[in-house]
């Protein structure tokens, strides 16, 4: 069933909508949540919560990109469940991603209170300025949480090339945030 028909089911308040959503995107949502949480139970609960929140938000929302809409909810939910201390103890992939993201922050000596939503707006402006390939690689790493090896396979390039592209993009983000006055 295509996305439009599934969304129509939500609008009709037909519970078949959730079944069809799970059939179409369940495994991808689980994979996304599991990358963040590194726990089967937590990932499954995140996906269930995603279905519930989707049911509650459609209608009135009619998503343009249904999977992206679901994945965004799933990502929010998974981060809400994430126990950072335990993740650090397990040396989960998410900790490595966090460390890499810290390299994008202009000045770590000072705490800057910035609303996540405002930071998201800046990130969107930054992503718009990137070449498509670099943007895709950046999102695969820091949005989807893909490993370097997976990104290299997906884009048909070497792992060192992927690392170089990510390094340059992180530096570019750091410069971008500096220009936007994110230094203190």
């Amino acid at each position: 069933m295509d996305d439009g028909k599934i969304i129509d089911l939500y609008f009709q308040r037909d519970e078949e909508a959730i079944t069809q959503t799970a059939l179409a995107y369940g495994s991808r949502l689980y994979s996304l949540a599991h990358r963040i949480l590194d726990s089967r139970e937590d990932a499954e609960e995140s996906v269930s919560d995603t279905y519930l929140k989707t049911w509650e938000s459609i209608p009135p929302t009619r998503p343009s990109f249904f999977y992206a809409y679901l994945a965004k909810i799933c990502r929010f939910t998974a981060f809400g469940r994430l126990d950072w201390k335990n993740a650090a103890k397990r040396k989960a992939e998410i900790v490595e991603l966090t460390a890499e993201m810290e390299l994008c922050i202009p000045d770590m000596r000072h705490e800057l209170q910035l609303e996540a939503e405002e930071l998201g707006r800046l990130l969107n402006a930054f992503l718009a300025s990137l070449p498509e390939d670099s943007r895709r690689i950046f999102l695969r790493r820091y949005w989807y949480g893909d490993s370097i090896e997976e990104i290299a396979a997906r884009f048909g390039m070497g792992q060192s090339n992927v690392k170089t592209r990510l390094f340059r993009t992180r530096n570019a983000l750091r410069s971008f945030l500096e220009k936007e006055g994110i230094t203190v």
Partner: protein, 181 residues
């Protein structure tokens, strides 16, 4: 702001970028592998032309060959006393092999390689050329021996110009070799 917040803020990224990253990769056209493949193919074809590697020849038009051989012999020798235009044929990229016609057998001239020239044939290798009527330098002045002659021809060397591949080797030209001093 710290790395956690940065990573969480990524959740606010526009859905169009999320979909863009999710979709399969549209690979840019890369001409380098195709160019390399074309170069390899060209080298392989050239190698097959230079080293045919077969000891038999086929696809000869006997009539045309005899006619051309007669024409060549009818032409006056060049300044060096050579026969016709072998250098021109070599320049066109054809392989040259000198043979002696050993016998006529089942409509073929069975030739023995006396000088491999630019080909990869070994001296003494046998080449069969379909040729119902023997080509031979004249004893009677008409440039050909009598039709149907089955006896061994006179000792005379011919230069064959050949091209093609193992499967499709062609005799392009045949001219009498210059007699040795």
């Amino acid at each position: 702001m710290n790395g956690k917040e940065m990573l969480e803020a990524m959740s606010f990224v526009d859905e169009k970028y999320i979909m863009e990253a999710e979709q399969s990769v549209s690979r840019k056209f890369r001409w380098q592998p195709l160019a390399a493949l074309a170069a390899c193919a060209a080298i392989a074809i050239l190698a097959l032309r230079i080293y045919p590697g077969r000891q038999t020849m086929t696809a000869v038009s006997p009539a045309a060959m005899q006619e051309y051989a007669a024409e060549i012999r009818a032409e006056p020798a060049d300044e060096d006393g050579g026969a016709g235009e072998p250098m021109a044929m070599m320049a066109m990229g054809f392989l040259q092999v000198t043979v002696r016609i050993d016998r006529y057998e089942d409509g073929d001239a069975v030739c023995i390689v006396t000088d491999p020239g630019s080909s990869s044939y070994a001296v003494g290798a046998e080449i069969r050329i379909p040729m119902p009527e023997p080509v031979s330098a004249d004893t009677d002045g008409d440039n050909t021996a009598e039709a149907g002659e089955e006896t061994a021809p006179e000792e005379e060397n011919f230069i064959l110009f050949v091209t093609g591949t193992d499967e499709d080797l062609r005799v392009i030209d045949i001219v009498p070799a210059e007699p040795e001093e």
